[in-house]
């Protein structure tokens, strides 16, 4: 083939630039871009402020380097875990367009290298790196001066790029190489996340073996990280090299998970229209591979509160368990919304049935996240801690989070390529970010405001429970309002689907 690597890169870059520029679902994209920009500026300012405080304290001798490293672990651990979990539910675009590009007169190697290059970093990686660099840089400053900030940037760029590569690999390898992928992901978690979690909880805060101490020995760190990146990239290269079109799609030909007892059972029909809808939703959840994977993720989330409570029972539940409780429900809704557009049931259903559809999703999400509450109660029986705080936190799931989550259906102007079944239109990531930002930021914010107003933890928990109970009791009303808004936007949303699919 005549085309050089540079020519192929230029051609493919032009294509990708046009693809991004011409994405559909503009209004959602604009809203999420603005929100993302604002939150980035806010958190960046916060990160700088934090790093200045740490810097001053270390310089004044009020804080030693180990304690400083603990602060970095406090920020880095959740960032890595959050990044990892966001990517589980986000569609991975690396396989997109491969069939068409592989039949064109372009060298496969060029296409693959471009894909690796183009999908290597991404805005999410940049966001994390920008947020963590000031604080790690301040710490590094005491080792190597101003160069410490450069090291912080480069090392974090490598760490988050590897994080992204691992999840891209895991998502694409999982269907074929389940054992290898699961083992690798567990090993990765043990190596990267466990030391950070342990560091955060003081268990090894003084130990030399923590991940943050070697980070200050720059050249060995670069060597290890580059090696890891090389391994992940070469595995992804092989994955793309061996890509075949029949590996696209969800369950497709996999009929091993049919759950026929659900279809045969009579009890659903006895429950009327709602029962029938719940049965359909359950079948959808259990017969769709990605949704089954999500149920596993919920179980993983369940492990987090158990671990947190057992390692630090005196910690306030409302602040320490925000992440697993809030995010598991968010993930459930955003994956649900993602798939709704493919079923098209919202568009072909009768108006009065729309509320039943929403109610079914509301009930299933609430029930699916109950293991989180049970896990917390079991820990309470074992160790004893702030049970009311736990209930208050859980109340957000049927309460405000569901209100936010189901409201996302109003802006269901997203599309899924019907040929590939599982591929989601790129505009969809806009709605995800919008949802994550609104829900993930608002819950701690509400907690904080309530604590400022109420003061005492007991009343704080009670206020949150009453607030969310109010939302639950008012659910018939807001579900109707959401259904009404959906109907009002019906044609706009359908145009969105047309624009993204045709």
């Amino acid at each position: 083939m005549n085309s050089t690597l540079l020519n192929s890169f230029i051609q493919l870059f032009k294509l990708n630039w046009l693809a991004t520029k011409r994405e559909s679902g503009k209004e959602i994209k604009t809203a999420s871009t603005i929100l993302r920009g604002l939150s980035l500026v806010f958190f960046f300012a916060l990160a700088i402020l934090w790093s200045v405080i740490v810097f001053k304290q270390i310089r004044a001798g009020e804080l030693n380097l180990h304690e400083g490293a603990k602060i970095v672990a406090l920020a880095l651990g959740p960032m890595l875990a959050y990044d990892f979990l966001i990517r589980i539910s986000l569609p991975s675009y690396i396989l997109e367009e491969l069939p068409v590009l592989f039949t064109l007169p372009l060298e496969k190697r060029h296409v693959i290298l471009f894909k690796l290059f183009y999908h290597g970093v991404g805005p999410l990686v940049i966001m994390w790196v920008v947020l963590i660099t000031p604080i790690l840089g301040s710490l590094n400053y005491f080792n190597v001066g101003i160069l410490g900030y450069v090291h912080a940037f480069l090392i974090m760029l490598l760490v988050f790029t590897i994080n992204k590569q691992v999840i891209v690999l895991a998502k694409n390898y999982f269907s074929k190489h389940k054992v290898v992928t699961t083992t690798s992901v567990i090993l990765y978690f043990l190596v990267v996340f466990l030391p950070l979690i342990l560091y955060k909880f003081d268990a090894v805060s003084q130990a030399y073996g923590s991940i943050l101490v070697p980070l200050n020995h720059y050249w060995p760190t670069y060597l290890i990280l580059l090696l890891l990146l090389g391994v992940t990239l070469s595995l992804t290269y092989q994955l793309l090299r061996n890509f075949k079109i029949d590996s696209l799609g969800d369950d497709g030909s996999d009929n091993s998970f049919q759950f026929n007892s659900l279809t045969k059972s009579e009890r659903w029909s006895k429950m009327g229209q709602l029962g029938q809808q719940i049965r359909l939703d359950l079948l959808f959840l259990l017969r769709t591979k990605k949704m089954r994977a999500l149920l596993l993720v919920i179980l993983f989330f369940t492990a987090l509160p158990i671990y947190t409570i057992l390692s630090n029972p005196e910690e306030r539940v409302l602040s320490s368990l925000n992440f697993p409780y809030v995010y598991s429900a968010i993930m459930f809704y955003m994956t649900y919304v993602q798939y709704e557009s493919i079923s098209m049931e919202f568009y072909f259903t009768q108006r009065n049935h729309m509320v039943t559809l929403l109610k079914s999703k509301y009930i299933i999400t609430t029930i699916a996240t109950i293991p989180l509450l049970i896990a917390g109660i079991v820990c309470f029986l074992y160790r004893g801690f702030d049970l009311w705080g736990l209930i208050a936190l859980y109340s957000y799931i049927p309460g405000l989070i569901s209100l936010f989550g189901l409201s996302m259906y109003i802006f269901n102007s997203i599309g899924i390529n019907p040929e590939a079944k599982t591929k989601v239109n790129k505009s969809f990531s806009g709605i995800i970010f919008l949802f994550i930002l609104v829900a993930a930021v608002s819950v701690p914010l509400i907690n904080w405001i309530i604590s400022l107003i109420v003061g005492q933890p007991y009343y704080e928990n009670l206020t949150i429970i009453i607030l969310n109970l109010g939302v639950v009791l008012l659910s018939p009303l807001w579900l109707k309002l959401i259904a009404k808004s959906m109907n009002n936007r019906k044609y706009k949303n359908l145009e969105g689907i047309r624009n993204s699919l045709n």
């Binding site: 005549n2 051609q11 032009k14 046009l18 693809a19 068409v100 592989f102 039949t103 029949d246 045709n502």
Partner: protein
Amino acid sequence: MLEINNITKSYNKKEVLNIPSLKIDKGELIGIVGNNGAGKSTLFRLMLDLIAPDTGEIGSKGLLVNKSEDWKTYTGSYVDNTFLLGYLTPTEYLDFLGSLGNMTKEEISARVDRFKNYLGTDNLEGKKYIRNLSSGNQQKVGIVGALFNQPEFVILDEPFNFLDPTAQENTKKLLAKIHSDTETTILVSSHNLEHLLTICTRVILLENGVVIKDVKGDAAVYQEEIMSYFLKDMEDNSEE
């Protein structure tokens, strides 16, 4: 031009294709026919190295398609609308294909002019992205895309789908003309026997992944050999 040896492909332990041997010579215009699920698209996808065979190999000009990529320089194909770049306008798409074929702007423009009547001025001069075109117009863009770089070998999967009667007739004429003028090897699958049997130099009938008939001749021969098969099939079904 193309040689298939001992190709088999199964999904869920069900064999969907089994072709012990098939040879396609340069300059042939071959029609692949068969009922739904006969294995036509699977065969095309194997030829384009989009899926991997369970056994066997496919060679294009003596080189295996899954080992060498040389076939891409002389093969044009259109499988379905997912193989189009929906965010480009038809003109941009053809420009892109021309640039991959190292054509100059003037050459691309001259080549576009050649397909102007077939594609229609609206498609070429409009600002609509391919994803916003009707299915029929997308189909036309895909067919032109496959033929644009004047490939020696063309693979078209169901090219008459979604096309209006005029466009179907034009597509038939276009393929016949390209075949007679340039001796391009063309492989077309279709359910539209009326169109296919009048232009093909050879017709292959696939059923349940197996080649049942491989006929060379003219419309009269095909009428007897191929049409009679489907008529008999229809009669059998109506009796059941």
